[in-house]
Structures are given as structure tokens and as C-alpha cells.
Symmetry: C2
């Protein structure tokens, strides 16, 4: 593929606040976007995420009062996704989720499961030192979800679809709404972020970024 | 662009453990990869990141003993990048970095700077409740860097370049090495992750992922 075309897609992408309510993304295109989320990499391959696609008008309405960053995106987006990240109880080395991924998804032999589990535990405890704080563990899972978030927005932009990543919500209140809907599966998940997809109604302002020399440092 | 071609790139990408030492990525291709990192979105547009490109053999050697997850990638990669994330002192609403981005990069009028700063402070304190813990603040900045991480790996894969994201390092020890080199700028930065780029020497195992129905939940 052509580098210039790809960079054009990175310039095309912006945090689109309002979408054209008349122009809907096809299900085929949206399935492609979700597939790039599914195929995204994650630490140890543990995929600590879930993508909740909120199409039900009633649930969108309930979310509106606690989601100040998505006042126009919730009503106008073709697809509105809440990205969940797993909480500590699903992330510790002996959690069912971790064992399930290693045994049934990665289909590792039993001795590799054991060794990888030990390395993983040491990673959490010693290398990253995140095991003793539930929120830090959750945030580390959230990191992984942002790979999928970035990929889905880029995949959308590559085929001319707009998106908006959203952190502008009250986490506790939004989670309370999802909890009532049974979507957090006994607090095995929390809300990492939200992302809306659609087609823009107006052109964005110019993109602003630090210059390349301000963000890249070469050690040669 | 063609969805199938793009999905092929997502299948092509894998955590490449060893690169062909004879086959180097051109500087032009690598600049394109960095540019997709630079253009990546971040919360409030605060770009809480820096990309340190470690080409110096001596620094690569120093990192090797504290980076168990990059034993083959450090010696063989064309470009080895350490992604830094800003720490709390650079992330609070009245930090120089935050003001600099709003005033000089985003060039917002003074009243907008004030309002956005207030919204941002409330977001940290009330919406996400991350202000009272330094590590959680850092992890939140790390989230943002994973958007750039994902984009750089995807951008690489789209033009046939391999990569490997790396969390397998002792954070304290690796930071101590960078601190000695003056790269953390007075602990304004910490290490979020590392990522190596090059060309594969062998084909990977089949990709394993949960099925789409396992990671996507529709609320209709």
C-alpha cells in the first residue's frame, strides 16, 4: 500500500463531534472495523477487552446524562461502542480468563501454560509492579484496549469513515448503568473508553500536533 | 482503500521476535511510521508521549539485561523505540506541559484555555478519579501511548514491515538506565513500553484470538 494514502487517512481522522444522521455506516464496513479490534495485539495475548455496541435507543438515552463528551455523538453515530477492560479479578495469573485464553484460545501445552503463568505473575508483581493496586491493574488492561481503539479508528479512516474516541464520561455512573444491564458480568469488566462511528457533517479544524523533533528523540 | 488488503495487514502483523539483521528498514519508511505515531490522537489532545529511538549500540547493550522480552529484538531490529509517557507532574491541569499544548500547540484563546483546563481538572478528579494516585495518572498517560503504539505497528504492517511490542522489561531498572542518559527529563517521563521494527526471519505461528461473538456484545 501507498504511504501517502495511509498518511492521508491519519490526517483525515479527527475527533468527529457530530455525525450525519442520514448517512449510516453499512454493517459490512462496521464488521470490518470490529474485526481490526478483534485482531489487535495485547500483552501476553490475553485480549482483556470486550466491545459493547450500543444500538438500543433506550440505553443510548440512559447514557446521555453521564457522558458529557458524547452529547452529539450518542444521538447521531451509526454505531456507538463502549470498550470494556477486564478488572483485576480476571487478570491475576490464576484467573479463569487467563487460563481460558492460554488453554482454549492459544491452546498451549500444559507445561507452557504453567511457565507462561509464572512469567506473567512475575511480570505483574516485579517488572511492572502493578499487582497490589486494583485500579492500576485495570488501567494496565485499559492500555491494551487503546491499541484496539486506535486500530479501529485508523481502520475506519482508511475507508473514509469518521470516529470519535470518548473519555468524557463519569466512570462510576456509566458503569452503574451498564451493571444494571448485566453488561459488566459481575464487575469482571469496567469501562475503558467509548468510541463513536459515523460520517462527518462538517469539516474539522486543522489538526494540531507537536513537531516531530518535539516528540522524537534519537540516541545514535 | 480495500478492506481485504487492510485486514491482510492485520493478519500479517504479529509479535515478531527476531528480525533479519541483513535487511534494514529505510529511513523514509521509518519516518512514515513515526509520523503515524505523531498524528495519533490522545485525550484532550495532550500528546503525553515521547518516542526515543535507540540506535546507539552501547545503549542497546545496557538495556539488554533488564529487558527479558526483547532479547532477540534489541540486537536485530532496524529501529528500536522506547515509548515514554508523561508522569503526574506533567499531567496536572496547571502543569507547564498542559499549558504549553493548549497555548502554543493548540493555540487556544485564553478563555478557552481556562475553561478546558477546568474541564480537564474535573475529568481527572471526578469523572475518572485518577488524580490522587501517581501511578494511576501515569497509567492513564500510558493508555494514550498505546494508541500511538497500535497505529505505528499497523502503519508498519500496511507496508510489509514487522514489529514487536514489548512490555517484558523491569520498569525501574530500565528507567534507571534512561535516567542516567538524561532521557527522562527529571522524571517528567516514565517508560510506557517498547517497540521494535524490522523484517521477519521466519513465518509466525497461526494467530489465535477469541471469536468475534466472544468479544463483541450487541445491545439492540
Amino acid at each position: 500500500m501507498n504511504k501517502e494514502q495511509i498518511l492521508n487517512a491519519f490526517h483525515f481522522r479527527h475527533a468527529c463531534k457530530e455525525f450525519d444522521p442520514e448517512k449510516k455506516i453499512s454493517r459490512e464496513d462496521f464488521d470490518y472495523i470490529l474485526e481490526t479490534g478483534r485482531l489487535s495485539p495485547s500483552s501476553f495475548g490475553f485480549e482483556p477487552w470486550k466491545f459493547v455496541v450500543v444500538q438500543q435507543p433506550l440505553l443510548r438515552e440512559k447514557l446521555l446524562p453521564v457522558t458529557w463528551g458524547a452529547q452529539k455523538q450518542i444521538p447521531t453515530s451509526s454505531y456507538f461502542v463502549i470498550i470494556l477492560a477486564r478488572t483485576k479479578k480476571d487478570l491475576v495469573a490464576d484467573a479463569d480468563h487467563i487460563r481460558n485464553i492460554m488453554e482454549n484460545i492459544q491452546q498451549l501445552p500444559e507445561e507452557v501454560v504453567k511457565r507462561k503463568g509464572e512469567i506473567y505473575h512475575r511480570f505483574l508483581e516485579t517488572d511492572f509492579k502493578i499487582l497490589d493496586n486494583e485500579r492500576v491493574m485495570f488501567e494496565w488492561a485499559c492500555r491494551q484496549t487503546y491499541i484496539a481503539l486506535g486500530n479501529m479508528m485508523t481502520a475506519a479512516a482508511l475507508i473514509g469513515i469518521d470516529s470519535c474516541p470518548i473519555e468524557g464520561f463519569d466512570k462510576d455512573q456509566a458503569e452503574s448503568i451498564l451493571r444494571d444491564e448485566g453488561l459488566l458480568e459481575g464487575d469482571r469488566f469496567g469501562i475503558s473508553c467509548m468510541v463513536a462511528f459515523g460520517y462527518r457533517v462538517k469539516e474539522p479544524r486543522d489538526k494540531t500536533r507537536q513537531r516531530i523533533e518535539q516528540v522524537v528523540e534519537w540516541v545514535q
